[in-house]
């Protein structure tokens, strides 16, 4: 299944050749809700490709559900490659699952299209990283915090690699700017007993809380903190680089309102490509359903892959990788393309504030898509760690970084 003939577009009466496509999403287990969102997005993109005259092939999805069990990811991909003969796999959500899959795609020379944002410090030739790298996600939010909120921060997060690494970046940037990390409180994944941390925050009244909790822990914390600060008459801003629209719904108003969030995608992006994407999403999944950053990113994975296969005229991994490099796609979130230096994507960082109606009000976006920097090797702490007057200077030298859109 490596080659197929390229015919002129529009010849729909002939049966198009089909390409098997592996999908690995956990629809049960601790992050089953997110897995379901990613799957919905992948299937929507596959259906769009399959009816689109501009593509001379169809995708046949083969789905595996590892149920959130890390070791099951290896088996799932092994089956997809051996039994279903897929060259390309879209999926994985956590870093632990991605690291299970990498040995097998490297050994068999297959390609994993990974949709989620993650903590960086990895770059496999057999993975295309379509989610945000830390320079797209954490760095703009910490920079915003230093410039507009406070340089003393109270950190709360889930006890795993995402929080550890995010907190490390926050600490480095904040301390080089003369600020302080006031606390670093960790909760086990899935833990919802948050009262001791909320109590500490009410007692110490930090100028800002940085939340890297995930799933139920985060929802419980956001609700409890909102209730406690309201009762105490305090206004403590909260920052997050992972909240998305479906999660705002799970938290519920009014606690879900007012969170400052960093992401490459929000449903509220005012681009014709996104308005059309949201309309198609709602037509397919219901008017009350909302796309999310990771879902949209999964959709982008399928679209980037389809375009690369069309350009390569083959599903061969080396040819597809070459065809995907630097090829620009007008996605819902804006132009996206793969940087062949590290297989991560150019994405546009954005900052927003959550509002009523489970939406985000975008108040800043980068002027152009930013080069991915998975190892943060271009992070210039000296340029960030300046006093406010100097940092205005630094900003004028960095026009790409801060552009107020509202």
């Amino acid at each position: 299944m490596s080659n197929f003939s390229v015919r002129p577009p529009g010849v729909l009466e002939m049966k198009k050749p089909s390409i098997p496509l592996g999908l690995v999403f956990s629809q049960s287990g601790p992050y089953g809700m997110m897995g379901g969102e990613l799957l919905k997005s992948a299937l929507m993109a596959i259906d769009e490709i399959n009816v689109c005259a501009a593509f001379d092939f169809t995708f046949v999805p083969y789905l595996r559900d590892p149920g959130g069990v890390v070791a099951a990811y290896h088996t799932a991909c092994d089956e997809l490659i051996r039994d279903e003969r897929v060259d390309h796999i879209i999926g994985c959500y956590t870093s632990a699952s991605r690291k299970q899959v990498i040995p097998i795609v490297e050994r068999t020379e297959r390609l994993l299209w990974y949709p989620a944002r993650y903590e960086g410090f990895e770059s496999s030739d057999n993975v295309i990283y379509v989610g945000a790298a830390p320079n797209h996600n954490v760095v703009p939010l910490v920079r915003h915090m230093l410039d507009h909120v406070s340089s003393d921060v109270f950190c709360v997060g889930s006890n795993y690699v995402w929080t550890w690494e995010t907190n490390r970046v926050i600490r480095e940037i904040v301390t080089s700017a003369g600020g302080r990390m006031l606390a670093e409180r960790l909760l086990e994944l899935g833990e919802t007993s948050v009262d001791h941390i909320v109590r500490e925050i009410i007692d110490r009244k930090p100028p800002v809380v940085f939340n890297t909790l995930v799933g139920e822990s985060s929802y419980a914390f956001v609700r409890a903190l909102h209730e406690a600060t309201t009762r105490a008459g305090l206004a403590i801003p909260m920052l997050s680089c992972s909240l998305c629209e479906p999660e705002l719904k799970l938290i519920g108003a009014p606690a879900s309102v007012g969170c400052i969030t960093s992401s490459a995608y929000f449903e509220s992006i005012e681009r014709p490509e996104n308005r059309a994407f949201v309309a198609r999403w709602k037509a397919r999944h219901g008017i009350d359903s909302n796309p999310s950053v990771d879902g949209q990113s999964t959709y982008v994975c399928v679209m980037l892959l389809a375009r690369a296969i069309r350009r390569a005229g083959s599903t061969d991994v080396a040819a597809v990788r070459r065809a995907a490099a630097n090829h620009r796609y007008d996605s819902p979130q804006g132009q996206v393309w793969v940087d062949p230096d590290n297989n991560h994507c150019f994405l546009t960082p954005r900052l927003a504030r959550s509002v009523h109606g489970c939406q985000f009000d975008i108040f800043w976006e980068a002027e152009a898509p930013e080069r991915p920097d998975p190892y943060l090797s271009n992070l210039d702490l000296a340029a960030i760690g300046l006093s406010p007057e100097k940092s205005n200077d630094a900003m004028s030298k960095r026009p790409n970084h801060l552009r107020i859109v509202k």
């Binding site: 070791a71 632990a96 690291k99 410090f121 990895e122 690699v161």
Partner: protein, 201 residues
């Protein structure tokens, strides 16, 4: 003191602190081939106490990044770190553990022997260096004693400082002892001790 060559691994005891079944079976197979004794330990539990190991093969990703966990693992046998996540936060934790060598996951059958040899060698070097440092520290500690002995000889023999020290050094050589030890004797008896020389001169 006889020392074991770092290349001889047969019979040495390895503690495996790992979680992933595929990695475990790979390491177990290799260690068995090398004739090592294997003890397996659940990473979720506290380090075993009271048992002796020659090396610890540790999947560092399997241990939560919490303060205090490194201290518990330190100080026992040399650690071979199995690394999956290369984030600086994890590597910081790893540095505190002072690994003797490391392997990057996914593991292959090649590499483990090299990691073991490097670990055994660097553990031996650490022991040697610690002993050397201790000798130097002892010498620094006995400086006051030497100074007191020099003063004693200067007064007792009406010598200059450099002549007094030369006398002590020559006597120490003749007695086949260290300047520090002889100084302690001088201070103890209040003058040059009356020893029978064992030298051939």
């Amino acid at each position: 003191m006889t020392r074991t060559s770092p290349f001889s691994v047969r019979g040495r005891r390895a503690l495996m602190v790992m979680r992933d079944e595929r990695d475990i079976s790979m390491v177990r197979r290799q260690l068995n081939r090398l004739g090592m004794t294997i003890i397996e330990h659940d990473p979720a539990e506290a380090p075993p106490s009271g048992e002796n190991f020659d090396v610890i093969v540790m999947d560092v990703d399997s241990i939560p990044l919490k303060s205090g966990t490194t201290a518990a693992w330190k100080a026992s046998a040399p650690v071979i770190a199995l690394i999956g996540t290369e984030t600086p936060s994890r590597l910081r934790w790893l540095l505190d553990l002072q690994p003797a060598s490391f392997l990057v996951k996914p593991l292959r059958s090649a590499g483990l022997y090299t990691a073991l040899v490097v670990a055994f060698d660097s553990a031996q070097r650490r022991i040697d260096e610690a002993a050397y440092v201790e000798r130097l520290e002892n010498r620094i500690r006995s400086r006051r004693l030497v100074f007191a002995a020099v003063l004693q000889i200067m007064r007792g023999h009406a010598l200059s400082e450099s002549d007094a020290f030369a006398l002590i050094r020559q006597a120490a050589m003749r007695h086949r002892t260290t300047v520090e030890q002889l100084s302690a004797d001088i201070v103890a008896v209040g003058g040059m001790p009356n020893r029978t020389t064992r030298s051939a001169s």
